[in-house]
């Protein structure tokens, strides 16, 4: 029996630049198996980019990302394909296929990767939809769904192949309180019930801290803080506390760099 | 509902392909007259002309105005510097060989050139009654060139 590595995802010394900007500068992140890890930070800190790097959609400039002890970016296409089947990525917009019904959307990965008989496929899809509470919407088109419902369908689709790793890209952004509650419940329960490992990328402090086991706080391309949610909330470091408590001015200034006010007024 | 949609899709695509095929066949037969190629068997004869005028390959060959073949090749003979025209004639109608002659005529006034074969008489040689593969038509008349005609006319008028 082989010993499974402790960390499902192991990111070491990651460097990534995009258009002359340092998105990641020597970032180190580990995601232990079975836990929910949150990656938080202000907008534009590259959180979504991180998920794409883990999934192999983008190539890092240097550093290594290992998933299940395999270096993602040195895999050949078929192996990468196999690895991706064990990952699920929930996009911020849901990214459902607009020309397929809800049912067909969830059935898509199953149809493409397995040879299941139609009846079994049908049952599996309904089970996934039941898990997110949308079995009744199976014949609707994505255009007819609300944002929250679309995300839940996308969640069902991302889970269709029973992945080991689930990644959520800003799942709470722009959601009404009820949908937010639903999603929170889904993420927490599915992680526990299906023995998943989850990475949640978000900047909703309260919601994320309520479900995360461990939090990484990122800004300007590097990690400015990490730890259990309650530890970060109690931290007195100016950068961390400004973000965690939502203060308007602090380590990150309110004013965008500009000329002195009086000078600008007198010039115009 | 989905089944119906897919059936509709497949049927309409099938109809499109069928229409394409019909158009192709139409263009082949009605437009380019490929039906003539149905006459699979034909034989080649040749003739020498001192001037072919505007005769082109694929120009029709007629006997009494009825198309019996096509010009397949036009070459210049190195020694005599005459034009040798190779013709492909259909097998269905035998043409008497002896004294057969070929003339180059013009369709209408401004039309293109074609070859008219005036069949010969009943032959004295029973073995070689009709034109066959490889024969050479010896009696030929060159094409009528408009400039020569006008030149002759002017010359005659001056006289």
């Amino acid at each position: 029996m082989s010993v499974q590595p402790d960390h499902l995802v192991d990111i070491s010394n990651l460097c990534f630049r995009y258009r002359d900007r340092d998105i990641f500068n020597n970032v180190n992140i580990t995601v232990p198996r079975g836990k929910i890890v949150a990656i938080m930070g202000p907008s534009g800190s590259g959180k979504t980019t991180l998920l794409r790097l883990i999934g192999g959609l983008l190539l890092p400039d240097s550093g290594q990302i290992k998933v299940n002890d395999q270096d993602v970016h040195s895999l050949k296409k078929p192996q990468l394909c196999g690895l991706r089947r064990k990952m699920g990525l929930l996009f911020q917009s849901g990214a459902l296929f607009s020309h397929l019904t809800v049912f067909e959307n969830v059935a898509f990965p199953l149809k493409e990767h397995t040879d299941l008989p139609p009846q079994l496929l049908h049952d599996l899809v309904l089970m996934k939809l039941e898990a997110v509470g949308l079995r009744g919407a199976a014949q609707m088109m994505p255009g007819e769904l609300s944002g929250g419902m679309a995300r839940r369908v996308a969640l069902a689709r991302a889970m269709a192949l029973d992945p080991e790793l689930m990644m959520y890209d800003e799942p709470f952004t722009g959601q009404d309180p009820i949908s937010m509650g639903v999603l929170l419940r889904l993420i927490k329960h599915l992680n526990r019930l299906l023995n998943l490992t989850s990475i949640v990328v978000s900047h909703d402090v309260e919601e994320t801290c309520s479900i995360a086991d461990y939090v990484y706080l990122m800004a300007h391309g590097s990690i400015i803080g990490e730890g259990k949610p309650q530890d970060l909330l109690a931290s007195t470091q100016p950068q961390i506390s400004q973000f965690m408590h939502g203060e308007a001015d602090g380590a990150v200034p309110f004013h965008y760099p500009a000329k002195p006010y009086l000078e600008d007024l007198l010039d115009g | 509902m989905k089944k119906q949609y897919y059936q509709y899709v497949h049927i309409s695509v099938g109809i499109l392909m069928l229409l394409g095929l019909i158009c192709f066949v139409f263009l082949a037969i009605k437009v380019s007259g490929m039906a003539d190629f149905g006459q699979a068997s034909h034989y080649s004869v040749s003739a020498e002309f001192s001037n072919i005028g505007g005769l082109k390959v694929r120009a029709p060959i007629t006997v009494a105005g009825v198309k019996v073949g096509e010009v397949t090749k036009i070459e210049l003979i190195p020694n005599t510097l005459n034009a040798q025209v190779t013709m492909s004639l259909y097998n269905d109608q035998p043409i008497p060989y002896e004294d057969a002659s070929a003339r180059i005529l013009t369709e209408g006034l401004l039309g293109s050139n074609y070859i008219s074969i005036v069949p010969g008489f009943d032959s004295s040689d029973p073995q070689h009654q009709f034109l066959r593969e490889g024969d050479v038509i010896t009696k030929t008349q060159e094409a009528l060139v408009l400039e020569n005609l006008i030149g002759q006319l002017v010359f005659n008028i001056k006289k």
């Binding site: 959609l57 394909c81 990965p109 493409e112 | 499109l16 394409g20 158009c23 263009l27 380019s32 029709p60």
Partner: protein, 260 residues
């Protein structure tokens, strides 16, 4: 002054980059292993969108073009007393030039822009990325069937255009203007050669299909994933596709008139 050269240089590099990228894109499409059983449902659906839905515009355009060429041809040939040649004029201009070229231009405008917009939208809403993350190659699933659908549909549409146009011309010249139908068809048949005229038109159609589909799919795939980016990409498909068709039309005609 230096600024001008700088911009020229960067534009040139940009052009080279784009050509290289589009060439690689094309190779990725052509290099796929054909899998006819699995690809058939998607292919037939795409044939419907690309072919069947363009059918109406091709037929209507063909009809009008044929009628106009017939009318203009009659009018001009009348001065030479050569109206019996109008069938020949019509058939040759349609099968050799107007058929393939106009069908390709209409196709670029209707089907090409639709494809670019569809793929661009899929890119902007991250559908392509999510497909990638599910381990399904979007090139194989989305691009490849559309490529072959276009390659099949355009030549078929070109043939339909030619036939409809010739019949359009026939109605105008024979039924309306009184040209003798016998001489119409016989003159046409003697002047039109299957190989050099009809077949060369089909070959042109195939080349044009290749160009238009390539441009349409590439522009959609590599567009900026914003609303503005999609609209720019769609415009570019129509413009570049049309210019490519016209340019290659000249090249092909020059090659064919010479050799064939």
């Amino acid at each position: 002054m230096v600024n001008f050269f700088e911009r020229l240089g960067s534009k040139t590099i940009g052009l080279l980059h784009a050509s290289g990228q589009s060439g690689l894109f094309l190779l990725r499409i052509l290099w796929q292993k054909p899998d006819f059983v699995r690809i058939w449902p998607v292919l037939s659906e795409q044939l419907y969108f690309v072919g069947v839905l363009s059918f109406l515009i091709v037929v209507v355009a063909g009809l009008f073009i044929g009628m106009v060429v017939g009318l203009q041809g009659y009018h001009t040939l009348q001065k030479f007393g050569a109206i019996s040649q109008v069938g020949q004029l019509l058939a040759l201009s349609i099968t050799r030039e107007l058929g393939p070229v106009l069908t390709a231009l209409l196709f670029a405008g209707r089907a090409g822009s639709a494809l670019t917009a569809e793929i661009g939208l899929m890119k902007a809403t991250e559908q392509l990325a999510s497909m990638d993350m599910m381990g399904v190659d979007p090139m194989r699933r989305i691009i490849y069937p559309r490529f072959w659908a276009g390659m099949i549909a355009l030549p078929v549409l070109g043939l339909i255009f030619s036939m409809v146009a010739i019949y359009g011309g026939y109605w105008v010249t024979v039924q309306w203007l009184g040209v003798d139908p016998g001489s119409f068809w016989s003159n046409m048949q003697s002047a039109v050669d299957f190989r050099t005229d009809v077949l060369s038109g089909v070959i042109k159609s195939i080349v044009f299909a290749f160009l238009v589909i390539w441009v349409a799919l590439y522009q959609g795939f590599e567009c900026n994933p914003t609303a503005e980016g999609i609209s720019q990409a769609t415009t570019r498909t129509v413009v570049y596709g049309s210019l490519a068709v016209l340019g290659f039309d000249f090249l092909l005609t020059a090659m064919m008139i010479g050799g064939w």
